[in-house]
Amino acid sequence: MKERISSLQIGAITWNLVLSAYIGIVPTILFYKLKQDSWLAVLLTFILGIVIVCTYLYIWEKMPDKNIFQKINCIFGNKIGAIINFFITITNIFMTVIYCYSMINFITSQYLIKTPNTFIIIIFAIPVVYLITQKLEVIGRVFFIFWIMSLLLFLMTFIGLIFQLDFNNLLPILENGINPVIQGSLLIMPYTSFILFLFLSIPKNAIIDKEKVNKRVLIFYSLAFFSMFTGVIFITATLSGDLAKIYQFVEYQVLKRVALIGFIERVESTLSMRWILYIFATTIMGLYFTKKYIIHSFKIKKHEKLIISMIAVISLLLSNWIFPNNTIANKIVMNIIPYILYIFYLLLPIIIAIGLKLKTKKVKR
């Protein structure tokens, strides 16, 4: 059964994946380390991230009929390849769990205060399980529609906040020099750019118009960063840098100030729903990656739907128990996890890219 997806849908998924770090992770890190220079860090991440995305696109380009697991097996041989595949998948599941944790933390602390976490996970697991058992085309279509919805909500936020900006709050620029900016940008890069590694589980031949994919991924990547950039600038300009540091979910607090046309005032709940959709997208793509890994390494044909549903539910439930409290979570997210991600999502793809180049050179001869 050939699965197909179109390049426009891949672009929409890019937007969703890049922006899913916007809730809980990126503002926490940025406003903690740099207060009003956060927008510079976002710009820097955008520029550095393009290099990484180009690496991923290059890996995607070679051997278009194989997905990443088959490519790794091809380069490194079967045994080492299996080990590397296993570690990549475990890291991927771990990252999915962390994103889910941040979303559930957000929901429990801002909306549904008394509801136990497990219940929210169960209700959230129902659409996840339903979608992950469908074909790739369905996933593409659903996320395209979500892209349109989140674009509308983003525009509403933009219009609602643009009259309350006070650019004086962005001064002084580079108060502590450029080192903290570079540090901050390197810390958020794993969460925003490395996530696109998940696309490599789709073989390029499955895309209907594959000539346009590279261009579209880069365009949607830039659009997503533009959205994050405006978000960070709005936060800094509306609240000031100092005030932004003390809130737990700054991006939600700034939505409380949206006043559209004079009477649409208390809309922060509806405007923040798009973040839930983003994290939903990351969860689905992560689980799709896992599904491909299981199909590839264990060669299961029959009960794949049941197995992937169980893994989905288990990984969602894990997000409840992974961190004992929020302070430890913030520490680990800021300090430990980026290093793990750098190994797997930066060094490894570079090695893979070099390996692919050597292999294709051999074949050409």
């Binding site: 205060i113 169960i122 002084p172 005030l243």
Partner: protein, 394 residues
């Protein structure tokens, strides 16, 4: 397989013996105003709760449409716990519009109030904060007027309408107060609420039936804070001056003299731009004030069609305004608080210099700060009359 999944799903719904965050509307107590007082035993917190059935029926009964609940405790949270024990409903904080804090609390315990309200995720940060002077905070909440159906609404509409006209005080929201508190080099101010008249009779609904009311709310002065402590409550004039320099007020009436009579000018669209420069390692502040003036009352015999006389009047107005505004700057220097944010501006322009003078700023450098105010008023309109009446009568 599919039916099994559906069955599990349906069964799991029946386990919902109580959706935890589900609250019916009539189970909630809608709090529209909070007041915080303090006495020897601890904090006194009052909730003003809208009594929904009475306000909906709009009858002219003698019962009030809002109820005050009082609670006491050693900390603010304990006081609210005390109230919750007395309330028959679940307290709901998202629609609070006004918080009135008494002078004693503002002098020492402001931070305790701030933290309690900030941490609660239900509360919104667009609440108006006021300091009550000479009366207990809970009494201000309970004054009723006939035009609105609940008192907290009265304060809010009084506040919002007064800023657009000639008002003498500005409205500060909770988030702005917090921003000014946290930022370096700037100290917050708050509006002050007073009650004129007899409080006891004003609390009763009957007083609204008379044409002249027994107790009225006035918003006249400002409260100056140094960090989080209240240091001084200004007079009406000083409060106007501070508000103009803070860009919160754009209109003012100025009286000038001519031949033992008065000319009154109404100045609108006042724009006060502050610039900070560092010369010879010392900061220098320049404030440019621009405005449009129009003559409102001319009681003396002058020839208004002579341009020289207009210029004279203009200069007199400018001088008067300058002395007026210097009042506000002097308050700031006297109490050693940075109400206008000069320190903040230095920080934004030159953070390194700010770091070197940060400790000395409030106590030493601020009272000696060189502030220069330049005013230019454009007297463009004389109202409907071209000439003063006295001049015409001859």
């Amino acid at each position: 397989m599919k039916k099994l999944k559906l069955l599990i799903f349906i069964l799991s719904i029946f386990l919902l013996t109580g959706c935890w965050n589900y609250n019916e509307l009539n189970d909630l107590a809608l709090i529209s105003g909070i007041s915080i007082d303090k006495d020897e035993e601890g904090f006194i917190v009052n909730y003003m709760i809208s009594n929904s059935s009475k306000s909906e029926s709009k009858s002219n009964s003698n019962e009030t449409s809002t109820i005050l609940y009082e609670g006491r405790g050693s900390t603010i949270s304990k006081a609210t716990e005390n109230i919750n024990q007395k309330l028959p409903k679940i307290p709901y904080l998202s629609h609070v519009e006004v918080i009135v804090i008494s002078e004693e609390v503002a002098k020492n315990d402001m931070l305790k109030a701030m933290d309690f309200l900030l941490r609660n995720p239900e509360s919104r940060k667009e609440i108006y904060l006021l300091v009550s002077k000479d009366v207990k905070a809970k009494d201000t909440l309970s004054i009723l007027t006939p035009l609105e159906s609940f008192p907290s609404d009265n304060i809010k509409s009084n506040i919002t309408s007064s800023t657009n006209e000639i008002a003498t005080t500005s409205t500060i929201k909770y988030s702005e107060f917090l921003a000014e508190l946290i930022q370096r080099g700037i100290d917050p101010t708050l509006g002050v609420i007073e009650v004129e008249g007899n409080i006891e009779r004003g609390q009763n609904q009957e007083s609204n039936d008379n044409a002249r009311q027994d107790a009225i709310i006035k918003l006249t002065s400002s409260a100056i804070f140094k960090n989080e402590k209240l240091v001084y409550i200004t007079t009406q004039d000083e409060s106007t001056a501070i508000d103009i320099l803070n860009k919160k007020l754009q209109n003012i009436y100025i009286e000038t003299e001519c031949n033992n009579e008065k000319i009154v000018t109404y100045i609108t669209s006042i724009d006060a731009k502050t610039k900070v420069k560092i010369e010879n390692n010392k900061p220098k502040v320049t404030i440019d004030v621009k405005g449009d003036g129009s003559l409102i009352e001319v009681n003396c015999k002058v020839n208004l069609e002579d341009s020289k006389i207009i210029e004279e009047i203009q200069q007199q107005v400018e001088e008067k305004l300058k002395t007026f505004l210097y009042q506000g700057i002097n308050i700031c220097k006297k109490y050693k608080t940075d109400t206008f944010g000069f320190g903040n501006k230095i920080y934004k322009v030159n953070p390194k210099y700010w770091k070197s003078i940060e400790e000395k700023w409030n106590d030493e450098l601020l009272p000696q700060l060189d502030v220069e105010i330049k005013i230019s008023i454009d007297l463009y309109s004389k109202g409907s009359l071209n000439q003063s009446i006295k001049e015409e009568i001859k």
